[in-house]
């Protein structure tokens, strides 16, 4: 009965549906009305200090990487005191193993591995956050891959990467080569799409999934998407 009611509702609502602008526009309108006003701190200095810039960072470790993996090294810099190394993806496992085992700063702990989607360049940035227990130092290693490219898994270097990479796969669709068990971790196995990609609209609920498994209409406004090809579970909001 509830279903029917829902259906009715849907039908009655349907005519009004199309012109609704996608939600993405709304937060923008809301931006001027922002954070809880800090009491006391009245109109503080118009804080527009262009922001801190990236500073080149050099250390014995960076030199060692340059020497060993010459062509793989892109750059090393420091941003607000946080050191970062950019490398190419081809020999990522070797670089990681080197970072773990070197004597200069042995990064024996992978704090986090995640990705950032840059749709304009059709790229994913894979970010590894490493920490060294002995030297008490953090470093971020970044590498970029094209959306359709694979990257070597670092599970063999740090076991903890197992679930972290599964999550990246789940959320971004990044494919890891030689991963022991590359399956979805947070979303159901038959979910379509990868929600943290920028082209996955926040409103986009997998209505099919909800209908199939829960037997109800989710009531969400959604875009009709279709997979671009079989290798990428790519959802494009097409209208």
């Amino acid at each position: 009965m509830a279903e029917e009611e829902q259906k009715d509702k849907q039908q009655t609502e349907k005519p009004a549906e199309p012109p609704k602008p996608p939600q993405a526009a709304e937060p923008k309108a809301a931006t001027p009305k922002p954070p809880p006003p800090p009491p006391g701190a009245k109109p503080a200095a118009p804080s527009k200090p262009k922001g801190p810039a990236q500073e080149p960072w050099s250390s014995p470790l960076v030199d060692a990487i340059k020497e060993r993996f010459g062509d793989q090294f892109v750059k090393a810099y420091s941003f607000i005191g946080q050191n970062q190394i950019e490398v190419k993806k081809d020999r990522i496992v070797e670089i990681m193993a080197f970072l773990r085992d070197n004597d200069i700063v042995p990064f024996n702990y992978l704090a986090d591995e995640t990705a950032v989607h840059w749709p304009k360049e059709e790229q994913f940035e894979i970010v590894y956050i490493l920490y060294s227990f002995t030297k008490n130092e953090h470093v971020r290693v970044k590498t970029r891959i094209k959306e359709w490219e694979e990257i070597e898994s670092v599970v063999q270097v740090w076991t903890t990467a197992d679930w972290l990479e599964r999550e990246v796969y789940d959320m971004f669709g990044v494919r890891y080569a030689n991963h022991p068990d590359l399956t979805r971790i947070l979303l159901p196995e038959d979910w379509v799409g990868h929600p943290l990609r920028k082209d996955y609209d926040i409103r986009l609920q997998d209505v099919e999934w909800v209908r199939k498994h829960l037997g109800i209409d989710s009531g969400q406004k959604y875009y009709v998407g279709e997979a671009r090809d079989e290798t990428t579970d790519y959802i494009t909001p097409s209208d």
């Binding site: 937060p27 954070p35 809880p36 227990f133 903890t160 926040i202």
Partner: protein, 355 residues
């Protein structure tokens, strides 16, 4: 086992491969509570997003809030004024105690010691009352703001905290009389779920679970954030890394947190609560990783800003998620009943794992 099982502390399903009563392999099925917390960040301003974080580790909401606010402050280049910092430390440490109390109570109840649960909740209630008096909420507190704190401490706050911390160490002793030398407790926890320090690091285990394995590492000491550098406290460590060690570590941590609160509450400096900053939070283009020692382990935030009012990407490094990964290694070879003990000892919160 699970997802509807009282000892899984939420909706966790563990697929066990058994040989009789003995566990050969385990596979966790998670995601039942997935709400897309990281995706939500992309459609909200920095400040709007903070309350969402309280819903991750709802037992230690204050820590979540602190970590995020500090991460954004780092990106902005703002430091919260000392008065706010002290309030933050007091609240976070009280929250650590309450989180550990909840852990102790439920862990004990899983292993058949029902009494402890009642005692733990008695003290936890006192802490939640302080929270309620301070900000009106008990669990999802949204206590801090980016740049400081919103609320001034209420009248009688210091007295209430003092009364609590004065009596609390004895209460911890009380729990100890119930458990520490209890034969059943020792039988259920000694030698169960052993993990070596090296394996723990390799698996990314952090927090009390790592310290239970003898690795003396605490972000409050290693990379002091807030004003932790001002306080004296010790980092308790265990020996062999079994469930009993982790139990001892957490009990001692509660005492140490009491010590921190006792020092902090006596010297709350005067001054403003919010740093001077523009009302619209617009961090510079760039990224930042900031991690804090949450009750469960390293809670990290990785924020990528594109210079607008909304974060381009927000990544949460949840301690429970990574710690749970160690379950497979820890349960191998144990009895089914021990799985309950090991899930308990990892101190997981599914809201944080699934996000």
């Amino acid at each position: 086992m699970g997802p509807q099982h009282p000892s899984t502390h939420g909706v966790l399903q563990v697929k066990l491969k058994l040989d009789g009563e003995r566990v050969i392999d385990a596979r966790c099925v998670i995601g039942y509570l997935h709400r897309g917390v990281e995706k939500l960040a992309e459609a909200q301003t920095y400040a709007q997003y903070v309350p969402t974080l309280d819903r991750m580790d709802y037992i230690a909401a204050v820590s979540n809030c602190l970590g995020y606010c500090e991460a954004v402050e780092k990106l902005l280049g703002v430091t919260a004024p000392p008065r706010a910092q002290y309030i933050r430390v007091i609240m976070t440490e009280l929250n650590r105690i309450s989180s550990h109390l909840l852990w102790l109570g439920t862990h004990a109840i899983d292993l058949g010691a029902v009494t402890v649960f009642l005692y733990c909740f008695r003290e936890r209630e006192e802490i939640l009352k302080i929270f309620e008096n301070y900000c009106g909420a008990r669990l999802t507190t949204h206590m801090f703001r980016i740049g400081g704190t919103q609320y001034e401490i209420y009248e009688g706050f210091q007295d209430q905290v003092r009364t609590f911390i004065k009596g609390f160490p004895q209460k911890v002793d009380e729990y100890e009389t119930l458990l520490t030398e209890n034969r059943i407790w020792i039988g259920r926890t000694r030698g169960v779920g052993v993990i070596s320090g090296k394996d723990a690091i390799d698996l990314g285990v952090t927090g009390p679970s790592l310290r239970g394995s003898g690795v003396q590492w605490d972000l409050r000491k290693a990379k002091p954030y807030a004003v932790y550098a001002d306080f004296e406290f010790d980092i308790p460590v265990g020996g062999v890394g079994d469930t009993y060690d982790r139990y001892m570590v957490r009990l001692e941590e509660m005492r140490q947190s009491t010590r921190i609160v006792a020092q902090a509450v006596e010297k709350i400096p005067a001054g403003p609560l919010m740093a001077k900053m523009s009302k619209i939070i617009k961090p510079p283009v760039g990224d930042v990783y900031h991690s804090i020692e949450a009750p469960k382990g390293e809670l990290g935030y990785y924020i990528v800003s594109d210079g607008s009012t909304q974060a381009y990407r927000t990544r949460v490094r949840p301690p429970s998620f990574v710690n749970l990964q160690a379950l497979r290694k820890m349960v191998a070879g144990h009895m089914v009943a021990d799985v309950v003990a090991i899930i308990g000892t990892l101190d997981i919160v599914l809201g944080e794992i699934d996000r």
